[in-house]
Symmetry: C2
Subunit: 553 residues, 2 copies
């Protein structure tokens, strides 16, 4: 059995946990009927079109010849189906053909796409980033030129940050931009790890490129963002940008990871000079949420495959799902997946609702906590399969390979931890975090169901950890930052899960059976995850001095 969209779990996370309907005043078009139609349509695309080419795409991979990248068989037809149904523009500006629905709704669609085919999902995900960057930072003529075709899916987008020598340190990048007489810039340099940087699925590719204008200040204060289209104008002239290499990766084989050479390519400045990093960050925030969602999505795919295997695979006389340990693994997967969903959809609803502080706080949690979940669940999925999990034919192995990229790209999870500490916690001396902790305590205290006391205790631990993080030296705090992020993720997910159970009572779509099942999942989650959250404190407080023996210095 292939992937089937878990509409019930998604709707519970979206409507009950994240509170989608609180957005009604801002997004008047969305109603339960439309939501259902969207989820059904996207579910069909995912199951019928994208999932069937997931393994074949893994096997075929992509090819590069004479700067032309050819996608795996079936991907072009799938992209046309995706494009023609209008999925790209769900949350985009109506003035350029978008449907102006909440991003949270678009996120649900992307969850299904990523579950069915993570390699494919990266293409519209990157386009979404380009759309948002141009919506927020583009000049009117740039919007007019690019938005409609990106929103329709006719063109696709990319993000060009990383350079061979610079990795996560964007301040070190050296790609040059030389002003030209016509107001454009000549862009020269090399970018690596460019997802879907070149392909044959769309007529044009709009690259958003970080580069340094001649004479700009050194470091991160001298970086500007440019639009560099693959095809320059209506005459179809090719720009001086090409793919000169593909990475041979462990997973997401059907997604081309390109090395791009810019050889005096024509680019146009977007946003202000030397403010490129800030512009790229707005784009990256959305992308980080989407990558976190990939963690949830690949975990869901792994869960479904493992559940189906356990339900059909006999050992001796009994199905392996009869084994308590197999049930434990499956329950663990589903409970954590639902927790990850709660974080992701709550982040999106915060963004849609204009609660910028909560959105910013939750974004690194969504990215890091959920991508760690992706790896954990994919690994459990392999384990449920036994020997067949290690054999590629079984399909579980692909999820394990694919899932591993998500903790790395769009800012490693270590970078997310630094972001949470520096940009989110220190910046307001813990105010936003304390609001989250208060919400979690309140939700836990109000729920009065099995497990809700665990949430309160975990929130207390997060408070203690927050006090530590705010008072520790920077180095000591950074040693604990990853674990602190994980603890915050535990608490945030617990908060939204608990809130979901409370909210569901008053939501028409939530039947007694649904509420009972989600309450049971929460109870498991509380005992298996929240109960262990306070123990993270010891790791958080370990301090830099404790690490010397591990690195020999």
């Amino acid at each position: 059995m292939g992937y089937r969209a878990p509409v019930g779990d998604i709707r519970f996370a979206l409507e009950a946990c994240a509170g989608l309907w609180s957005l009604k005043s801002r997004f008047s078009d969305i109603d339960p009927d439309l939501l259902e139609a969207i989820l059904d349509g996207a579910g069909a695309l995912a199951s019928e079109t994208l999932a069937p080419i997931n393994r074949s795409g893994d096997q075929a991979g992509v090819t590069l010849k004479d700067s032309i990248v050819t996608a795996a068989p079936g991907f072009k037809q799938a992209y046309i189906a995706f494009r023609d149904a209008g999925w790209q523009g769900l949350a985009a500006d109506a003035a350029y053909g978008g449907q102006h629905l909440p991003r949270a709704v678009a996120l649900a669609v992307f969850e299904m796409i990523h579950s069915a085919n993570m390699s494919f999902g990266l293409l519209p995900m990157l386009t979404l980033g380009a759309i948002e960057a141009i919506e927020q930072h583009g000049a009117p003529d740039q919007k007019a030129l690019y938005l409609e075709k990106l929103i329709s899916g006719e063109w696709t987008g990319t993000m060009n940050l990383t350079e061979p020598q610079a990795g996560s340190d964007l301040g070190a990048l050296t790609t040059k931009a030389v002003p030209q007489a016509d107001g454009s810039y000549a862009i020269t340099g090399q970018k690596i790890f460019i997802t879907w940087g070149e392909h044959d699925l769309a007529d044009n590719i709009i690259h958003l490129v970080l580069a340094r204008i001649e004479g700009a200040p050194a470091g991160s204060k001298g970086i500007s963002m440019f639009i560099v289209p693959k095809i320059k104008g209506e005459d179809g002239a090719r720009n001086a940008v090409r793919c000169i290499g593909l990475e041979e990766k462990m997973g997401i084989h059907a997604s081309p990871t390109c090395t791009m050479a810019y050889e005096g390519a024509t680019g146009w400045l977007i946003g202000e000079e030397n403010k490129g990093l800030a512009a790229m960050f707005t784009m990256m925030n959305a992308a980080r949420l989407n990558v976190g969602l990939q963690g949830v999505a690949v975990a869901e795919a792994a869960y479904q495959k493992a559940l189906a295997y356990a339900q059909e695979r006999k050992q001796g006389g009994a199905l392996i799902i009869q084994h308590p340990d197999v049930r434990r693994m499956l329950t663990h997967m589903r409970a954590k997946i639902q927790a990850g969903r709660a974080i992701c959809y709550a982040t999106a609803v915060a963004a849609d609702g204009g609660d910028k502080k909560r959105e910013d706080l939750l974004t690194p949690l969504a990215k890091a906590w959920c991508t760690e979940l992706g790896v954990e669940a994919a690994s459990l999925g392999v384990q449920v399969h036994g020997g067949m999990g290690f054999v590629e034919e079984g399909g579980a192995a692909q999820f394990y390979r694919d899932a591993r990229i998500a903790p790395i790209y769009e800012g490693t999870n270590g970078i997310q931890a630094i972001d949470l500490y520096g940009r989110k916690l220190l910046s307001d001396r813990g105010e936003t975090m304390h609001a989250l902790i208060a919400d979690a305590r309140e939700a836990g205290a109000a729920l009065k169901k099995a497990g809700s006391a665990r949430l309160v205790i975990a929130a207390d631990a997060l408070e203690e950890a927050t006090t530590y993080m705010l008072s520790a030296t920077r180095d000591d705090a950074l040693v604990g930052a990853f674990e602190y992020l994980m603890l915050a993720g535990d608490v945030a997910s617990g908060l939204y899960l608990a809130r979901g159970i409370a909210n569901a009572q008053s939501q028409a779509a939530m039947t007694k059976e649904i509420i009972a099942e989600q309450t049971a999942l929460f109870a498991y989650y509380a005992e298996a995850v929240l109960a262990r959250a306070p123990a993270r404190l010891s790791t958080i407080q370990i301090g830099l001095a404790a690490l010397r023996a591990g690195v020999g210095i």
Copy 2:
């Protein structure tokens, strides 16, 4: 930089933690000079011969044509080097050419081999299993016929258990053995997942095969073990056994995983009729320890690669090892690796010393705890590399793929948890476990170093968990069994690490610097792992009823 044998850490685990020299009265040949010579020699083989063909073997894989399996380039030469140096027979019976050294010493050699090349290591590891089975269960003429050539490495061995319909449930196997007039049996059936079941590195392959003699009782009580050599006699006649397929796996590509067809092959009963499962278990116990060691070994390889990358990779101006989060990951890896080593070597020393109860108790811990460590550390190794970790060229990805098999084969870790619960805990109502707990408390209380109190608290938690496991219903206990095993592994590793620091004071080879470094590693381990062990209790006690929501039943 390639793999370099971590002789210091291995010796600390072997001599100080596991107490190798307590075996002096049983193994008079071993002394510090010989140990050093062995570790140096094996280290050189690992670094210079096996590590260099690890990635090339991963890429080339193995091929099957006309029932002939050809190993990856370089493997034959490497095997000859291994064989000619006499490594196979280190712990084997001196009467057949072995050196009768402690198994713990042979284990140290195998650790290096597995670190350098896990695919390669499986071949002598399986041969070791065949040697032990024939040593323990073979008739004198069988010993005479097979042992010398297996011990010299001239021939290799395999274990043939799994069948397509039977997975972990050996009672369901159907391979038939029909008695022949000459006292042999005609073996007919199909076996899957047979590691190094066919290859071109040795003149003969000795298969140990589980099968059912005509008329034997159903289930696990009707299974016998047979010796089925690939080449039947001195005339070179080929037996009716052949490889009919190779699995396409996620990792250990250079190790052929064969489907073997027995078509009336000539086999000889080894051990008693219908007692094959018991015989196979003695063989599997050693193999389980060796698989646990693979977890440690692949973790060590991942650690070394990640450390080297962090020390040479600059980002902006600084090496990435300067990042506190990178140091945290590396320290976590090294500390847990040393903990895993302590379990594995302590298991071997218990076996060598005739402490059967402790050996049996530790074996599932070694297998499961250490293979989970292998996956965790390999994943962290990928993470330290950032984007390069996901690119195959970087090499970290291979460890992540290779490591994933170890929690599955030789009895999944779920099976190990059942083994710990049923065969080790229930069988003596916790007596052996309580002895371990008492040792851990004593070692913790005696140490009086940073972290030692954590060990005592973890031991208390294990006692509480043990009480629960002994009183819970079987189903509830089995839900908690995996987590219980993990907790027992935390405590056992803590015990041997703490004991190691205490023992080291009186051992000549252990300098002040070594002791200080290992003490610091233990302190980290106590805060990052042992401090969190008690929190496992909530998961252990979760019970079957809590799992319904996860599996929809």
